[in-house]
Amino acid sequence: MTNLSRRSFLKTSTAAATLTIALSNTPHLIAQATQGGHVTPCLRVDESGNITVCVPIPDMGQGMITTAAQMIAEELSVNLDDVNVELMPFIGHTNDQGRAEFGRFYQGAGGSGSTARIWYEMRRTAAYAKTLLLETAARQWRVPRASLEARNGEIIETYGTRKASYAAFVSDANGKAHEIFTNGVETKPVSKFRVIGKDQRNVEARKIVTGDPIFGLDADVPDMLHAVIKRCPYLNGTMVSYDDTAAKAVPGVRGTMAISRSSSDGAQRTIAAGVAVIADSLWQAKKAAELLDIQWDGSISVDDSSTTIHSKCIAQTKDGSSVRTAVQTGDIDAAFEQATNTIDVTYDHPTWAHTCLEPHSCIAHVDNDKVEIWVSHQFMDSAINAAAGALNISADNVKANFYRMGTGFGRKAEGDFVIEACIIAKEFDAPIKVTWSREDEMEQDYPNHMGAYRVRAATDEQGKLSAWHIRTALDTGNSTIARLFPSDNAPNVLAEGARIPNNISRGAWRGPSHNTGAWVIQSALSEAAYSAGLDPLDFMTALYNDAGTLKSPTWPYHDVDYRRHSILLRKAAKEAGYGKEMPDGWGQGIAVHHTFVSACAHVVDLEMIGDNDYRVHKVTSAIDCGLAVNPLGIRAQVESGIMDGLCAAKYGKLVFEAGVPITNNFDTYQKMRIDEAPPIVNIHIMDFGDTEPRGTGEVSLPPIIPALTNAIFAASGKRIRSLPISENL
């Protein structure tokens, strides 16, 4: 047994109040009654014999609690209708630098990689738990293990009469549970799957529809105080002075506290400058915070207005004076000279906010050099490290309680809401709960990038893409979009990008880079097809058929075979009747894109409403996400990405004026409602014979935007090259 696995087990164990820890390697020989405990981190039994399946990855709506539970149920032979499912605590370890690192399981939600990242370890661990239970039962009943089988949470004597719940063997089996030796444990082959691959409804649905307090913002701990922070509205601004006389006069107010911006040099924001009001109740703190009189210094970002940044981006696409080359192959100039048809077009889009529906919150209780936090967060390691860093303590001294997230989209991967709570809690003898308002959530967002893009594409006499020149001008230095297909593939390529510096601290937004990159690239390919006199479907099918394979160097990411893109396009087209006759003012648009290593194609059917609006009547999708663990959940994610993309494309626009985000709630930042949601969504989950999942959560979003704008073009003849559509149609 290594130190690492002992520590992992202890961390898991201490979280279960009912656990009897048996650290001896010698199993108890007599243990008939349930005392409760873990059999590996994925199975917990309480004193009453109730079985709980524990999943390692936080759920923000992407359905990981359900998907992971299916993986466990498959190998552990339990029926998910008969067991509880809960999020397991952090079971990683602390490294030499005092920082938390994942252990056996990846315990974060991002990159559409959760399912793939736990695919082997989760099932092995569950299979090992079952093995332990079978071995324990065999010992207790003094029968050969081969005479027993595990079924629906019970150990059954195959040709005998005895059977007993897993619970009967737990306190005995858990004597060995700390040695999670999963090497050599066999998991089922795909052909034997009974749970994986079947539709499974959200395992927390009943809790959700009855209003159980399962979200981070629902957490309360005894004797806690509430903090509300007035944060500096100016990007990267600082606090000069404040008067808290009126705030302190509000009954229940315990004090105020200044919080400094970090980092202080105007680089990416870790936390905003602000003044916290600490009070007995949330309402008192909210009310008092409004009475603070604060002088801010926003001079650093006074030039940062959306219109200014936008102009700078557009100027860069024209003169390219500060671009850096990302990809250069072949001879781009010669290819354009010899081209039969060319396009030279510019696209641009504003900044999108996350608008996580659950505003951020965190409770922190500091006790000398230790802290306990209660929070909903996408990454367990990041949340723990944020707390440790804020207090300058080792991650070993952080106890973290994680909750369901009311969406995340990348924003709940940040540390600011944890850090603030820890900094304030350090000054108080009570747990402190910091609750964000909607305005806080939007003003202090780490939003998506803003950008402009110039694309020149050339086709030869056969109508094939012969040259591709993309110049990106983004307010990040990120070159991902410049490098996307066909920059990795066309015979002559120049891909280059410029960074437009400003004071906006950006972060990951569902499908980072891909979310707008797909729109630019798929739009441009569609425009290139039309310029060559071809239908975009025929043009792109041929393009992807010739494109080979994109190698992915790192697990769990797989290679991307571009021929699958052609198959997805053809499938979506066939199911949608792409190319059929449509009434005047109707149109269809098609697009495909791979985000990470999964790909999705959509066909959008829409109808113009007058000259400046439209209704999407139907979306037809084909997704390749590798082996499908939960088809019902995959369809949910595809539907979600479709809605998210349709909404961002039509309305998404976070506006900054002289360094201040002025769109800070749903009255100024518009979101789509049910009346604009497509009433028909047909999703086809493709089976390419993969034996591993690839990922789903972000994959359907990027291609829906070009499918939409291509449909608008087909319906109206108007090519949308600027977002949001609501302002540019």
């Binding site: 927390e204 649905a205 959700i208 009855t210 979200f215 529906l357 009311g406 479709i642 949601a677």
Partner: protein, 154 residues
């Protein structure tokens, strides 16, 4: 003078700041966390509850207006273990993703179906305005129709 009202049938009285919205009384004082905070300005509907049978956005209802009121929250919708048909439909259609808005969606739908027991798509488009950030609208529409059907045949 104390403000008296009922929440899910239980009598309560309130002596605090009358400007406080009902939402914060429910969540912070009555211990009913099912009603969610989303925007604080009545835009998103995550905080929807029933006030004398009508759907209201509790973030925008001050305590001062509640004397004699009867309030129902998501926690008061089921009868014991028997879920309301709208809750059942939400599970059957696998509507919830993150789930944060769904209590509000369900409360809005229950009130909507009382007035519109057999809704058309247009009725739904006009009658249900709650925000779902996961974009579960496609399944919400199906669940509303399923609930309507189940309630008519019940």
């Amino acid at each position: 003078m104390a403000i008296s009202f009922t929440i899910n049938g239980a009598r309560r009285s309130f002596n605090g700041d009358e400007e406080m919205p009902l939402l914060w009384h429910l969540r912070e004082e009555a211990g009913l966390k099912g009603t969610k905070f989303g925007c604080g300005i009545g835009q998103c509907g995550a905080c929807t509850v029933h006030l004398d049978g009508d759907a209201v956005r509790s973030c925008s209802v001050p305590m001062s207006s509640l004397d004699g009121a009867s309030i129902t929250t998501i926690e008061g919708l089921a009868e014991g273990d028997d879920l309301h048909p709208v809750q059942e439909a939400w599970i059957e259609e696998d509507v919830p993703q993150c789930g944060y808005c769904q209590a509000g969606q369900i409360m809005a739908t229950v009130a909507f179906l009382k007035d519109t027991p057999n809704p058309t798509d247009d009725d739904i488009n006009n009658g249900i305005t709650n925000l779902c950030r996961c974009g579960t609208y496609y399944r919400i529409r199906k669940a509303i129709k399923r609930a309507a059907e189940n309630m008519q045949t019940a």
